[in-house]
């Protein structure tokens, strides 16, 4: 029972972080038709910014906010500076080819990932460093019973929960949210409604940047920070997005939690070195059994 609770709580708090990563991936995939392999590279970079600020005696919370804002800016820069010019060029012979239209952005995002990692390595020496958490990571106790959850876990779950609620309100209750959903579903009708689809697209890159930046801030107190630490998070987030449905925002969050539990239970009941194998098997199973994802619709994948 004890190990079950341990797995359950760690699955929930880790799953919450995976949900953010997967949400970020899905936002850009829906909005721009690109799976952004540089996403966690961007998050790594903004987490380094926060870490640098904290070293320079800024408070945790001001560093936290600045990291989120720089995540948004970095996302917007990637879109405006690279992805938009890449995908809007009509005459390139290579882009006339169906498969190349999806391949080129993937390669471009890998290029950004490489550059970000190298720049972070040069600026911050590249060796692993710790990243503080605002709340002690001690197990909580009630009386003399020690619970299987730490204060930091609760903090993570709370922050992600608030983020998801705000995101839901943004998408379902605001005009900008409606514009984002509409441009993802049907860019032409949306443009004909007078909405600047290009700007909406940049906004989805920015929101995705913020979400992944938040994931970086929440995961590094446990994993430490180095140019490569967040690579695994991208893979897990990708798996979560595929499991939930690459074109469904709700699905991406659900997928994040499912993958969180799978990893936590494999970790507790099997061995940590089996985690990767489990992810691969889980991803392949998902692709074969339900390639459109749990909450995804079929048509969009057929592009």
């Amino acid at each position: 029972m004890d190990s079950f609770l341990t797995a359950f709580f760690s699955g929930t708090s880790q799953g919450a972080i995976y949900a953010l990563v997967s949400l970020g991936l899905v936002l850009v995939w829906r909005g721009a038709g690109v799976v952004n392999f540089a996403q966690m590279g961007q998050a790594m970079f903004t987490t380094y910014i926060a870490s640098q600020l904290i070293q320079n005696d800024y408070s945790y919370w001001s560093a936290f906010v600045i990291a989120l804002v720089s995540g948004a800016i970095l996302g917007a820069i990637v879109d405006l500076g690279l992805m938009r010019p890449l995908t809007s060029r009509k005459n390139s012979q290579l882009l006339n080819s169906q498969s190349m239209r999806t391949t080129i952005p993937v390669i471009a995002s890998l290029g950004i990932l490489g550059v970000l990692k190298a720049v972070a390595g040069i600026l911050w020496a590249g060796e692993e460093r710790g990243f503080p958490s605002p709340i002690a990571a001690n197990a909580l106790t009630i009386g003399d019973t020690t619970l299987a959850i730490t204060g930091f876990d609760l903090f993570v779950i709370g922050v992600v929960f608030v983020t998801l609620v705000l995101t839901t309100i943004f998408f379902t209750r605001t005009g900008m949210g409606l514009a984002m959903r509409a441009s993802a579903l049907n860019p032409e009708v949306t443009r004909l409604s007078g909405i600047r689809v290009g700007s909406v697209r940049t906004l989805s890159w920015a929101i995705s940047g913020t979400a992944s930046s938040l994931a970086g801030l929440l995961v590094t107190p446990k994993t430490n920070l180095s140019p490569n630490t967040l690579d695994l998070l991208l893979i897990v987030g990708f798996t979560a997005a595929v499991v939930g449905g690459l074109n469904s925002l709700a699905g991406s969050v659900l997928g994040g939690f499912i993958v969180g539990y799978v990893i936590a239970f494999v970790n507790v009941y099997s061995a940590p070195e089996n985690v990767f194998l489990a992810i691969l098997v889980f991803l392949l199973l998902a692709l074969f059994i339900r390639p459109q994802g749990i909450l995804g619709s079929k048509e969009v994948r057929r592009v």
Partner: protein, 237 residues
């Protein structure tokens, strides 16, 4: 007044529109007819900015539209209802309508509410089904929704691309007569593209016959209806 002069639109050096010139008068329906591939949709898509013309010009009164972006063309009062009942089927009916007026939300919130109320009055069935996804509507209802989405932006010029496509004659006649009443009551200018000439020309003031990207005839609608030899030659009936 929509003034189109010497408009040419090319796809890979094939001229889909070849030197088109005509005018559409305010408060009137101008109908463009022609067989499949005559360039009718390309004409509307070029006016709304979805396609870039190679040469020629498109003017709305004194305003040059030729090289503006789709978004700014829509914002200057020109709304297109694209072919095939283009609504966003995953969004609800109300959201589709909201989308059409979204860009005016900050500048004219009050008028937006009125415009929304007006389209619901025009098509009461949409009000009844406003919470349902647009994908669950029938073909005719979707066309009504597509037109409503355009109307909430309070356009001065409405571009309708084959609204009767795939609809029962009775329903398409009803939709076209609603549009006709709207023109007469509000002074809306309508450019209507149809393959099926009869109903479309019956409500129109002016008719243009298009074939292989060229204007073959530019006549008052009544004369075009009467000219059976032109129709036989270019439309086959």
């Amino acid at each position: 007044m929509l003034i189109i002069s010497n408009l040419v639109t090319e796809f890979a050096s094939i001229k889909a529109l070849n030197d088109i010139s005509f005018q559409a008068k305010p408060g009137c329906i101008t109908t463009v007819i022609g067989a499949n591939g005559a360039g009718k949709s390309t004409l509307l898509r070029t006016i709304s900015g979805l396609e870039r013309p190679t040469s020629g010009s498109i003017k709305w009164f004194d305003e040059e539209l030729t090289h503006k972006s789709v978004e700014s063309i829509v914002r200057s009062g020109i709304a297109q209802v694209p072919e095939g009942h283009a609504v966003i089927s995953q969004l609800s009916v109300a959201e589709n309508i909201e989308l059409g007026g979204l860009f005016r939300k900050r500048i004219a919130r009050g008028d937006l509410a009125i415009a929304t109320k007006e389209v619901y009055e025009l098509f009461p069935i949409l009000f009844e089904r406003r919470r349902e996804p647009a994908g669950s509507l029938s073909g005719g209802e979707r066309q009504m929704l597509a037109i409503s989405r355009a109307l909430v932006s309070r356009p001065k010029l409405l571009l309708l691309d084959e609204p009767s496509l795939g609809l029962a004659p009775l329903i398409s006649a009803q939709i076209i007569s609603t549009v006709n009443e709207l023109c007469k009551s509000t002074g809306l200018t309508v450019l209507l593209v149809e393959q099926n000439a009869n109903t479309a020309l019956a409500v129109a003031d002016h008719g243009i016959l298009l074939a292989l990207g060229k204007v073959i005839a530019n006549l008052p609608a009544k004369e075009l209806i009467a000219d059976s030899s032109l129709r036989a030659a270019y439309l086959g009936y």
